[in-house]
């Protein structure tokens, strides 16, 4: 297990919490609606060969909730400021779900800092006739958890952890910011899909094939619309491949980064 440091840093007038571990080329991971308050096994695994940087988005976890935050595009600009402030180049940008949406919005604006882009069961676009199933904002905690995982055992294990104290506070804060960003239209920006062709860095689209939040058909859409994109589906896996099939997730990323080269 590669260790990490937890620090706070100020970007665009907003204090955010950042976890960072490992050495090597920079890998910026943008978390999903559930938040990024934990250093997870897949991060540790990636940190063997990369400098893994995991900020908590403004409005999430221990980060501040800035008054300027109104839409996902604001976070795209925020992370461009973040990359600039740190002077990072040749970054492997990896975004999951809501984080994938932010990553895609960032990449259509400016790829100056990026070596690659990876979208994991990403939100952000909608295609007529390709409905999502259900509504994350109407699911109870139980239902949401069961739908996030394909493996029922993992869902039950997640549910067995009581939600209380600080974890509850974080969950409420994360839900509030998720609603602010993704309530209407639900989980997408109608304008984003028009500009996906602007993404020219090598792109990997990863998808848990049994995703019940954003169906696998959306993986195909991202892969078709981004010029240098390749799609990898994980069979028997739900919305969170980085957790549910972490090993396959880490190898798919490793292979992709190898292939692209430094």
């Amino acid at each position: 297990m590669v260790d990490f440091e937890h620090t706070t840093e100020r970007v665009a007038g907003c204090g955010i919490s950042v976890r960072q571990g490992g050495e090597g080329p920079p890998l910026l991971f943008l978390h999903g609606a559930g938040g990024g308050s934990e250093w997870l096994p897949f991060m540790s695994e990636l940190a063997r060969r990369y400098t893994v940087i995991v900020p908590e988005h403004p409005g999430f976890g221990d980060s501040e909730s800035p008054g300027w935050l109104r839409e996902v595009g604001d976070l795209a600009y925020f992370y461009l400021d973040f990359l600039e402030q740190r002077g990072l180049r040749d970054v492997h940008l990896v975004g999951a779900s809501l984080g994938g949406w932010i990553a895609a919005e960032l990449a259509v604006r400016n790829q100056h800092h990026l070596r690659t882009l990876t979208l994991v069961n990403s939100a952000g676009i909608h295609v007529k006739g390709l409905p999502r199933k259900g509504d994350i904002f109407l699911w109870s905690r139980e239902e949401k958890t069961r739908r996030l995982y394909h493996d029922a055992g993992m869902a039950e294990a997640a549910l067995a952890v009581p939600l209380e104290g600080e974890a509850m506070d974080r969950q409420l804060k994360n839900a509030l910011t998720t609603a602010l960003l993704a309530w209407q239209p639900r989980l997408y920006n109608p304008q984003l899909i028009k500009w996906l062709h602007r993404i020219t860095v090598p792109t990997l689209v990863l998808w848990g094939a049994e995703d019940q939040v954003i169906p696998a058909a959306y993986g195909e859409q991202f892969a078709q619309r981004i010029p240098n994109a390749r799609l990898v589906n994980f069979e028997a896996c739900g919305h969170l491949p980085q957790v549910e099939c972490a090993e396959r997730f880490v190898s798919a990323l490793g292979e992709f980064f190898e292939e692209v080269g430094p």
Binding site: F137, L138, W139, S140, M168, D169, L172, K173, A175, L176, T177, T178, A179, L180, W183, Q184, P185
Partner: protein, 384 residues
């Protein structure tokens, strides 16, 4: 004390077996459960009941806004207020209220309310609410912006009513180059404003502010909460340096008056239980979307989660909590007197039709209330 007859206009013909298939009477309950032939009759019956209320001497008639639900069939309550404005002549007409954060253009409400105020020559009362959580699902309005949009929409409407136009409005959520209301409201400076709420510190502090002094209405809550929030309002007013008057406090509560206590309870039982258990039914995620309550408030609610998701509510438990007043005229009068003496509210808003309560039963209860409850309470008020 003044008496304002409050109607929700529910879909009384709702097939209650819906509950075997659906977990809510709101938003996700398919509208195939609505039969327009029955709906047509209900709308006209309910308007008749409101006109009858004026005939019986009620001081005001109240309607309100809800969307995509069998609970209340007035997504656009101004239609009902418009219908009443030409068929009634003395009673005030109150829309309690319009859910401001749902609006992309709050000036529509400024205009609609100004029209009603003109048509009624100043009989109109304006209600502003945030709407209940389900409306944010029904309308796709962002609950995380609920408070901010409410305040900004309110400020825009007040300016539109009171400032000479045209002027430009530059807000965070609303932007207009021309605000220039035709018609201006009939009442000076604008219609009275009432704020219905289930109770929150933020709302009370805002409504009691000396620049507003809006009438605060406690709606469909246990009396313990009603007493707590009305006391909070009075204390708040005092901290602002003035004494709140009775006109600043009102209580909306379902009421049924029967021949005697026992028969009243038996007559009302299925209908009030349908109201609280099946017409108001929705999962917590629908009732409280993220941001609808402030983080401290939602934490408080989650601690007392049973209050929302508790089991079946019987008429006995509802009466015990004071969420329903029921009995002979004498009993109902005593209850109102008792609560009024504690909190000194100036308005009571009886909701006398609820859920499935049939037309003839509703009218009998209204008549008993008007003849044997209202006059006595009016006299005592004058004497007091």
């Amino acid at each position: 004390m003044k008496f304002f007859f409050f109607h929700l206009m529910p879909y009384a013909d709702l097939d209650l077996s819906y509950r075997d298939k659906h977990n809510s009477a709101w938003v996700t309950l398919p509208n195939k459960y609505y039969d327009p032939k029955k709906g047509a009759q209900l709308y006209n019956r309910y308007l008749d009941e409101m006109e009858y209320a004026e005939e019986l001497g009620f001081d005001g008639l109240c309607v309100n806004e809800h969307h995509q639900t069998a609970y209340g069939l007035m997504p656009i309550p101004g239609v009902m207020a418009g219908a009443l404005s030409r068929r009634t002549h003395k009673a005030k007409i109150a829309i309690l209220g319009r859910a401001l954060p749902l609006l992309n253009n709050p000036l529509t409400v400024a205009e609609e309310f100004a029209m009603l105020d003109n048509i009624t020559s100043g009989r109109f009362i304006a209600g502003f609410v945030r709407g209940i959580g389900a409306e944010y699902h029904a309308w796709g309005a962002n609950p995380a912006l609920s408070h901010a949009r409410f305040h900004e929409a309110h400020d825009l409407i007040i300016r539109a009513w009171t400032e000479t136009g045209p002027f430009a409005f530059e807000g965070e959520h609303y932007h207009f180059d021309y605000v220039n209301l035709w018609p201006r409201p009939y009442q000076e400076p604008h219609p009275p404003i009432w704020v219905p709420s289930q109770g929150s510190t933020e709302t009370i502090e805002w409504a009691a502010d000396p620049s507003r002094k809006y009438t605060y209405l406690q709606t469909f809550s246990p009396v313990a909460a009603m007493e707590r929030f009305m006391t909070m309002y009075r204390d708040k007013a005092e901290s602002y340096g003035y004494q709140a008057t009775s006109d600043q406090l009102g209580w909306a509560v379902p009421i049924f008056v029967g021949e005697d206590d026992a028969s009243a309870v038996e007559e009302a039982r299925p209908h009030i239980e349908n109201f609280y258990n099946w017409f108001l039914r929705m999962p917590p995620e629908m009732l409280l979307p993220p941001g609808y309550l402030s983080l401290p408030s939602i934490k408080g609610v989650m601690k007392s989660k049973k209050a929302i998701t508790g089991g079946y509510q019987t008429i006995e438990s509802l009466m015990e909590k004071g969420m329903f007043l029921c009995g002979s005229a004498e009993s109902v009068r005593q209850q109102i007197e008792h609560y009024q003496s504690k909190t000194r509210f100036g308005y009571i808003l009886p909701m006398m039709q609820f859920a499935t309560l049939p037309a003839d039963t509703t009218r009998r209860s209204m008549k008993r209330f008007a003849e044997n409850v209202m006059p006595q309470l009016r006299v005592q008020q004058q004497g007091a």
